[in-house]
């Protein structure tokens, strides 16, 4: 089982499963509506620290501020 890391640390083109969102009620809800829910598979399309990160989630491309992406915890999918 892979280590749990913040989404912001995931490399470009890597995939992962969302395990926890630690952003306070408002943000967690907003992210959930956009499709970031526990168990969701996400893929990092673009990441250039310290700028925002672009993630493919449920068929759409969502840009997230880096600070926000630090609050989403994921398990990287091996071999992706």
């Amino acid at each position: 089982m892979a280590e749990t890391i913040p989404l912001a640390m995931l490399q470009e083109n890597c995939e992962a499963i969302v395990v926890e969102i630690n952003g306070g009620m408002g943000l967690t809800r907003r992210l959930a509506e956009m499709g970031f829910t526990n168990g969701t598979r996400v893929k990092v399309l673009h990441s250039s620290p310290p700028g925002p990160i672009l993630v493919m989630v449920r068929g759409s491309r969502i840009a997230l501020g880096r600070g926000l992406a630090m609050k989403i915890f994921v398990n990287p999918v091996e071999g992706s």
């Binding site: 509506e33 499709g35 168990g39 672009l54 969502i62 840009a63 997230l64």
Partner: protein
């Protein structure tokens, strides 16, 4: 004629406004939602003997009580009960789009789904089983391609059909599985007893929203007789369930979409699309910023260069009209009123139109192509540090051209606090109208440092805008906290259609003409009056004695206030004029010295020899002109966009104070280091 009330709803970027334009023929009544600054568009469509009255609801991902847009959309559906809700679903992104659809079904709205971007979905290799989707959701589903006006007849037919079949529509119960379903059922049966509530709202929806601790629905229950029973049930439910039900149910909805609906209706893989390839360049750290700056520069030049001949033409036309009027009318007062007041005023309003039309044309192109969201992505980090939002950058840059369209461009920022903050500091971006002032003063007084003087004003504006944004963020409770973090969908790139781009441009331009235009026009009439009366004192024979006018009296009246800055009454009167439009400051000096505005060199000479300014007070005057109150057009548009006199007055006052402080600092510092 049969009347059908139709509401349009959908996620952002699904092509909602294109469908609205297709249905209504582009004829929209644009206003605001009552008490809100959110835009409301309405239009009509006649089809097969039925008159559809169409209301465009704000684009939204969800129907919670957390944002104004979502509340407006959901309150409209719940309270106004439109006959039909057209839910526009992006066929190339079913999974996320169906989330809103599920919420609409919970609201028991009478839905017709427009499965838009059908062509894009095909290109991406998706195959969607429309009949199966319609059967599963229990609502009509019509594939459409709004950009090519395809599927609109079928959509209208479906709306009329669904309106007729209202009673026969089967109600779809979305199952959340155990233990949620049981709890929802229990709460629903309690709420059912309150006849007033259950008569007005779908009880199952109320129950779900109560479980989600929705503020608005909790307020409804607060007034109900069944409050205690509901609260008891809710606290019992909390014991078995996780804390945040809203997130838990959001998860459930996505599970339903992903595991129940999609496997039956969607086949297709996702190849590397053109969008991903373009993003590699547009979003990259260095190249992305370079591309952004290049595109902005192009937009800026496009707006102000392409529009300039049109503006000049309008200006010329109105001054010609003015000349004709003054030669044809024998009464000098009436002639002056018609020529300088009416035609001068109309000319001033209309010369603003070309840059606004071209700017919105350019912005619409950037937005419809999908680029504008990328610009926010690229600029997010820098702007966030400055206490602004990634999307604040474009309005700030446009401000170098003209603050009027710049303030209008803040509309692309979705959170109201961020939008208002960007609006407040925007006038500090030195617009092109202020350039003639800098050029006049610095060439008259700064000698070989003239160019540096002009340049320093632009830098000063930027620095002050940043400082003010940080200051307001820290000190005004309304802006407290960080800018909302970036959560932004980047749509697929697309080629904008001519029709929707032009409609977009026309709507914005017309709005400016109607709202801000009247304010500028009245302002100019007021200046005409102040500078021409008392008539006999001002017009002595062929000479115009501006120093006898009410405006000069006002200038002399406020001179003592500006005395610490060493500005005389001429400078004071010029600044008063400048409130109408900053370029008038130059014209006012010209009038005082009996010169024409075009006589640049002579005017510089006159200004120097008359000793109105020293190099230091000249610099202070330039800074003052940069900062003090936005021109009346900008004030008008700030009021229009914030919908609040409070923020409008705040902007004017803080800028006046700031201008005074900065000018005083320049003068004092100048004296300290030995300049007179």
């Amino acid at each position: 004629m049969e009347k059908i009330r139709v509401a349009l709803i959908g996620n952002p970027n699904v092509g909602k406004s294109q469908i609205f334009n297709n249905l209504t023929g582009g004829k929209a009544h644009v206003g605001n939602w009552p008490g809100k600054t959110v835009e409301k568009k309405e239009g009509t469509c006649v089809h097969k003997g039925a008159e559809m009255h169409i209301t465009d609801l704000p684009g939204t991902y969800s129907l919670t009580a957390h944002s104004i847009d979502e509340l407006i959309a959901r309150n409209y559906i719940v309270e106004e009960k439109p006959d039909i809700v057209i839910d526009i679903v992006d066929a190339s992104n079913l999974e996320r789009n169906l989330y809103l659809t599920l919420q609409l079904l919970e609201l028991e709205a009478n839905i017709v789904i427009a499965l838009n971007k059908w062509d894009v979905a095909k290109d991406l290799g998706y195959e969607i089983n429309v009949e199966e989707l319609s059967k599963l959701l229990g609502v009509p589903v019509v594939p459409t391609i709004a950009t090519k006006n395809i599927g609109m007849e079928e959509l209208k037919n479906a709306v009329i059909g669904a309106a007729k079949a209202k009673e026969k529509r089967r109600e779809l119960i979305i199952s959340y599985g155990k233990p949620f379903d049981d709890i929802i059922l229990k709460i629903a049966s309690i709420v059912q007893k309150d006849k007033e509530l259950s008569g007005k709202y779908p009880v199952r929806w109320l129950a779900i929203k109560l479980l989600e601790a929705d503020e608005e629905v909790l307020k409804l229950i607060d007034r109900s007789l069944c409050k205690e029973e509901v609260m008891r049930q809710l606290s019992e439910a909390k014991k078995i369930l996780e804390e945040d039900m809203e997130t838990a149910l959001a998860e459930k909805r996505y599970t339903i979409i992903g595991e129940v609906i999609l496997p039956k209706v969607l086949i297709g893989a996702k190849p590397l699309t053109l969008t991903d390839m373009l993003d590699k360049a547009f979003l990259s750290k260095h190249l992305g910023i370079a591309i952004f700056l290049a595109l902005w520069w192009a937009l800026f030049r496009f707006t102000f260069d392409v529009s300039r001949p049109f503006s000049d033409l309008i200006g010329m036309l109105f001054s010609k009209l003015g000349e004709i009027a003054s030669t044809c009318i024998s009464n000098p007062q009436l002639a002056s009123f018609i020529a300088d007041g009416i035609f001068g005023g109309l000319g001033a309003v209309l010369t603003f139109l070309p840059p606004i039309f071209f700017l919105f044309l350019g912005l619409a192109l950037l937005e419809d192509s999908g680029y504008l969201a990328r610009a926010a992505f690229v600029m997010d980090r820098i702007m966030y540090k400055l206490g602004l939002h990634g999307r604040s950058f474009i309005p700030m840059l446009i401000g170098f051209g003209c603050n009027v369209p710049a303030v209008m461009a803040t509309r692309t920022i979705d959170k109201e606090e961020d939008r208002i903050l960007t609006t407040l500091v925007n006038p500090l971006m030195s617009c092109s109208a202020r350039l003639p002032i800098y050029v006049l003063i610095s060439s008259a007084l700064l000698g070989s440092y003239a160019a540096a003087g002009v340049y320093s004003m632009y830098v000063l504006g930027i620095v002050l805008a940043i400082l003010m944004a940080l200051l307001f963020r820290r000190t005004i409770p309304y802006f407290k906290g960080k800018p909302s973090p970036l959560i932004l969908e980047l749509p697929l790139y697309a080629i904008p259609t001519v029709k929707s781009t032009l409609i977009h441009m026309w709507e914005r331009g017309r709005l400016f003409l109607r709202k801000a235009g009247t304010i500028i026009f009245l302002g100019i009439i007021a200046v005409w009056f102040l500078s021409n009366y008392p008539w006999e004192a001002v017009h002595q024979g062929d000479k115009v004695m501006l120093e006898n006018s009410y405006l000069a009296i006002l200038g002399k009246f406020i001179e003592p206030v500006l005395h610490p800055l060493s500005f005389n009454w001429m400078a004071a009167a010029a600044l008063l004029f400048g409130f109408i439009a900053k370029e008038i400051v130059v014209g006012t000096f010209a009038t005082f010295f009996g010169l024409r505005e075009e006589a640049g060199r002579e005017l510089s000479e006159a200004l120097r020899s008359a000793g109105v300014f020293t190099p230091v007070t000249g610099l202070a005057f330039m800074a003052f002109s940069l900062i003090y109150t936005p021109c009346i057009a900008t004030v008008g548009v700030i009021y229009k966009e914030t919908g609040s006199w409070k923020w409008t007055i705040f902007t004017v006052s803080y800028e006046l104070i700031l201008a005074y402080v900065v000018a005083l600092m320049i003068v004092t510092f100048g004296r300290l280091i030995g300049f007179a």
